[in-house]
Symmetry: C2
Subunit: 392 residues, 2 copies
């Protein structure tokens, strides 16, 4: 019986694997430099080897640097940024809690869906599309609802908004509320001070500014957030996200490390090298480089007669720019032409911006004058000479 | 202000990344062949690119082959096998449900912890250490408790037991119970027929028999399991695991694909090539090769005067063998010596077998006569000439 196959070997797997090279200048992931990809191809090691723990310790050091924090509980979850979002919420929320979530982007839908799955009541703190939530509006919602947490997105990829964060932590703490911040698209590319700004849970992704392969979500918990975790009535409802267990594996507590899951060790190698590259350049230099690249892009777009969704320059996210699609232009033709003729990703809109904008990303190694000029040329050509659908 | 750093760049990241080559002959992960690692270093692609969807479709084909199933809902979760375990339980269980979980290994603790987090009541169906659960004992528990699911581990790495599965599906279905099976350490290395044996949810890992990097959990849901998912009172409590949403991203339903998370695309490339290697060899040939390698290992261990934890040959797992540690031998000296002198992982025990056994893994490319003979030599040397702790 062991010699028979009920389902045959598929013909598709006899074909060669085809992976073309593309210029990833959409909302992410971005392109990875050779040093990072080479690291990711180094030999596998076991999840409890001292050499693996050394790589994890290096990552912890690097993450504390990019998060600008001294939090002992700073590590990397073995999942996508969406998992980081859900882990942040699931570790803090319990059934019956209230979560105030900023509603000005696609991410409100995702975060509120996840918070509700944890049994929390969600209150929306609304801001107009293309604008951040003001400190005053945030305080009004927090003072009224006294929520367990306020959720903000630092770098909103759907509209290209950068949410100011200074003062929000102190405001939240007046009301006993924790501040949870999504930095998936901004970390390393825009100023962020976890400790100085009193942020409580901050998470990110590996595949945006850091130019590492997707699959990891860096996260940090303030002592205040950990106090909350330790005072929960029930443990975190998701074993895989439970920061008390993942943190033990990462050696964040005064306990021996224990086996939580088999870590994606090759992704760890790659992220370790990506963080080493940030440390070599310097974090503030990386912030400046992204700011300068964005400025060059925005100036160039203006020269092309294009407008940005975000009107105020101080609210524009450096890493992702939402460009309003002119009335007479078909956005699908733009993204199609950029990819088909130039091998370059320019993203369409997402959620509330779908159909309204195309999005250009400048992240990590792609945030240079050369790539800005190139993507401006691609965009100009795609708008002026769009390929008809039938020609693809 | 954006020019200051509160936390300095860590010195650790100025050191070079050090990743030594080791022979991974413990309970997993195993070694990855160059073709698989090369695939994992190919250029990044976006999570909604047609080329990425092609890779995902190839993986689906390959997984249906190794699972021996025609289930449309067959895909890969973007997390470790522990996440696969939790996803299987979280998609099926709701608060108030009963789960009968086989208790003969380390995995009872993990699965029951996760099931309880979902609000389920856990009932243990016990079997002695080193033995599988009999069909009779399973039926007794299922008939008595009429649980939502029965959870079995096909290849138990902690004791090296292979759980027979034939007849368990039909038995469960008599009582309206679903059969959930962990095949993390067995899939591809031991006969498994998802459809023929009426298994309802089966999950695995990328890093064992398939020799791909860790970080992915293949999973398949039978139509019966999907019927249960669709009849839940509440949606799955974990967005990241929700098979209705992940399945939509994988194109498993008659719906357009939608953005669920940013997939770890380099891990997908590697798993795609790993599955192509299985298809090239043939699944039944792979099963036979693992069986022959295990037989050669077991014969060799007997010649060395060593005994296996699992007495009955038909209950021995081909991929992981638990070797009883002789009374006069310190198991930590054995694993230490194997690693320090031979660069070879032999694992210690896990959970109920800790201190009682060392575990030898023969998975994928390591399941050959050459590696069997080598690991026997390593084990013999480590037992006869253990290195003192101080010499390391």
């Amino acid at each position: 019986m062991a010699d028979t196959e009920d389902v045959c070997a598929p013909a598709s797997l006899a074909e060669p694997l085809r992976v073309p090279h593309k210029s990833l200048m959409g909302a992410g992931p971005s392109n990875a430099p050779p040093r990072v990809m080479h690291a990711g191809s180094l030999p596998l090691l076991g999840h409890m080897y001292p050499e693996t723990f050394q790589v994890m310790d290096d990552i912890k050091d690097g993450l504390r640097y990019v998060f600008q924090t001294k939090n002992p509980v700073t590590l990397c979850l073995s999942c996508a940024g969406h998992g980081g979002m859900e882990a942040a919420l699931a570790n803090i929320l319990e059934p019956g809690d209230t979560a105030v979530i900023c509603k000005n982007s696609f991410w409100f839908d995702r975060a509120s869906y996840m918070a509700e799955r944890q049994g929390a009541r969600v209150v929306a703190a609304e801001a107009p599309l293309g604008q951040p939530l003001s400190l005053e509006a945030a305080e009004e919602a927090v003072a009224k609802h006294r929520p367990r947490l306020l959720f903000l997105v630092h770098g909103d990829t759907s509209a290209g908004v950068q949410q100011p964060l200074e003062g929000f932590g102190a405001m939240c703490h007046k009301y006993g509320t924790l501040l949870v911040v999504d930095t998936v698209a901004s970390l390393g590319g825009a100023p962020l001070y976890t400790d100085r700004w009193e942020l409580d849970v901050v998470y990110s992704g590996s595949q945006k500014v850091f130019n590492a392969p997707p699959g990891l979500s860096p996260i940090t918990f303030s002592p205040r957030a950990m106090k909350r975790v330790l005072s929960r009535k029930q443990p975190c409802s998701v074993y895989f996200y439970d920061i008390l267990k993942v943190g033990e594996y990462w050696g964040c507590f005064d306990k021996p490390r224990s086996y939580h899951h088999t870590c994606p060790v090759t992704l760890f190698y790659a992220l370790r090298e990506a963080l080493a590259l940030v440390a070599e350049e310097g974090l503030t230099a990386s912030w400046r480089r992204h700011q300068l690249a964005a400025q060059r892009l925005h100036d160039g777009l203006e020269r092309l007669g294009l407008r940005l969704l975000v009107e105020k320059p101080e609210h524009r996210l450096a890493t992702v720019t939402a460009v309003l699609v002119p009335d007479n232009v078909d956005w699908t033709a733009v993204t199609r032409t950029a990819m088909a003729r130039h091998g370059t990703e320019i993203s369409g809109g997402l959620g509330p911006t779908l159909g309204k904008v195309v999005r250009v990303g400048l992240m990590g190694v792609n945030a240079t004058p050369r790539f800005v000029d190139r993507v401006l040329g691609v965009l100009e050509d795609a708008i002026r000479n769009p390929m008809p659908k039938s020609s693809l």
